[in-house]
């Protein structure tokens, strides 16, 4: 077992970690927007229900949610419904969508009424005003909290380990079980650090890109 073969092996494990990261982002970013609209709905039962769900999801540990989604159906129906893969993707997506939705909601509500009114008096429809005027201003405002949340997601992926999703930490732990080699586990930190560094650079760049206007 030399350093490079372990590095490569862990890279495969990190690929599994990235899968959780990628799938969660791809699904939770749009789902969060839908949830944000739900929680701002004028129809009271809908906004109450949405806020209730957000409260439960944000108010309980992600680890507990993973366990409930993965093992829960088996206990209730006698047979499991979700594989470790789907249980992980579903739980992470819903969990992160709820966090994103609150960030979106804050961002959307921070835009002044005047922007919507200007759109209306210029004859733009509500959706034109939202997508052409409001959205980019919201994006600019929510980049800092979103980048925080997304960097947290990188590290949260390791929780999937407990429902037997074979990601980076699992790959490293195998070396302890199979040969008493401890250092690969510590070595995983480098993967997380490099990746979060890349994300940090990306968000800096994005912030710079939107520096040309004040909102």
């Amino acid at each position: 077992m030399n350093f490079w073969s372990i590095t490569l092996d862990l890279l495969v494990g990190f690929g599994e970690t990235l899968k959780i990261f990628g799938v969660t982002l791809a699904l939770a970013l749009p789902l969060g927007l839908i949830i944000a609209f739900g929680s701002m709905a004028k129809f009271k039962p809908l906004s109450a229900l949405t806020r209730g769900i957000v409260w439960v999801v944000r108010g309980t540990p992600l680890m507990l949610q993973l366990i409930v989604v993965y093992y829960g159906p088996g206990i209730v129906f006698g047979t499991p419904i979700f594989s470790a893969y789907s249980a992980t993707y579903i739980t992470f997506t819903v969990n992160y969508a709820c966090y994103f939705s609150e960030i979106y909601r804050g961002g959307i509500q921070s835009i002044t009424k005047g922007q919507y009114e200007a759109g209306q008096v210029l004859g733009m429809t509500k959706s034109e005003t939202f997508f052409k005027v409001i959205l980019l201003q919201v994006v600019k405002r929510i980049i800092p909290p979103m980048s925080n949340e997304i960097i947290t997601l990188v590290k949260d992926t390791s929780l999937a380990r407990i429902i037997t999703y074979y990601e980076l930490i699992y790959f490293a732990q195998r070396y302890i079980k199979n040969g008493g080699i401890l250092w690969p586990l510590f070595y995983t930190a480098v993967y997380y650090l490099v990746f979060t560094a890349l994300l940090t650079v990306f968000f800096r760049w994005l912030e710079k890109k939107l520096d040309y206007f004040k909102a």
Binding site: V121, G123, M124, L136
Partner: protein
């Protein structure tokens, strides 16, 4: 035929009656100034004309055609052209910060061209850009076409907002205290632009505290107090020979 007729417009916020039956009539090309102390309902009137508030009752006619008709307690009838019959310049400009000056002018017309299905050919992007350039000349900002709102002074921003409103060619253009958010030394350039817009085609309603400006630009002046039109007439009539006691009190305070 009148360009604009407003009949018995009423608006309440809760139990607060803000407009208590406002009647107006304007010919094409006329400029109407509305003066009055704060809280009198001037902004609410303009907002009702631009459908940012829904009047509880009353009717609005443009060019003889009813565009808005409300009966107390019933859903108002609003025609499809209603919104684009009116334009509004806000006290706070409300420019779109992420668009350049030219972008601010062109956004809504471009979207309208994309949407448009009826009557006549669609306006092309080039035609829209050409109109935008021309209006920038009108407001004296040709050299700022590619600047962003945050790079402009308040007076420049308000001139952009005026050009942006004109891009939609509204039948009636409304201004809600267009210079109130500006430093005193910047009001002149905005008032000058508004004055230059006056011609036989443009019908305008201007809420303002600039009495000298109102006197010189207006064909008629309205003094509004407590949700009613207290006095109405030519600038000479209202400013020099006010009939109402309230008007006299207001004018002696401001002039």
């Amino acid at each position: 035929m009148k360009m604009l007729e407003v009949k018995n417009l009423c608006k309440r916020f809760g139990s607060n009656e803000v407009l208590k039956g406002v009647d107006l009539a304007l010919n094409k090309g006329e400029v109407l100034s509305i003066i009055g102390s704060s809280g009198g309902g001037k902004t609410t009137l303009l907002r009702c004309l631009n459908f940012l508030e829904k009047a509880d009752s009353g009717e609005i006619l443009v060019g003889g055609k009813s565009v808005y008709h409300a009966v107390d307690g019933q859903k108002p009838v609003v025609s499809a052209e209603a919104q684009l019959s009116f334009g509004l310049v806000f006290q706070q400009f409300n420019l779109f910060p992420q668009y350049s000056v030219l972008g601010n002018l062109m956004l809504a017309p471009k979207l309208r061209a994309k949407r448009k299905s009826t009557e006549g050919p669609r306006e092309t992007a080039e035609q829209i850009a050409a109109r935008a350039q021309k209006l920038l000349e009108t407001v004296g900002l040709t050299d700022k076409a590619n600047a962003y709102p945050c790079e402009l002074s308040g007076g420049q921003q308000q001139r952009v907002a005026i050009a942006r409103a004109l891009m939609l060619e509204p039948d009636i253009l409304c201004f809600d205290e267009p210079t109130s958010a500006l430093d005193p030394e910047l009001t002149g350039e905005v008032l000058k632009v508004i004055r230059s817009l006056k011609d036989s085609e443009r019908t305008m309603i201007i809420v303002t505290h600039e009495m000298e400006f109102a006197r010189h630009v207006s064909d008629c002046v309205i003094f509004m107090a407590d949700g009613v039109i207290e006095e109405e007439g030519t600038p000479e009539e209202v400013f020099d020979r006010p009939k109402s006691e309230k008007t006299r009190a207001f004018l002696s305070k401001t002039c």
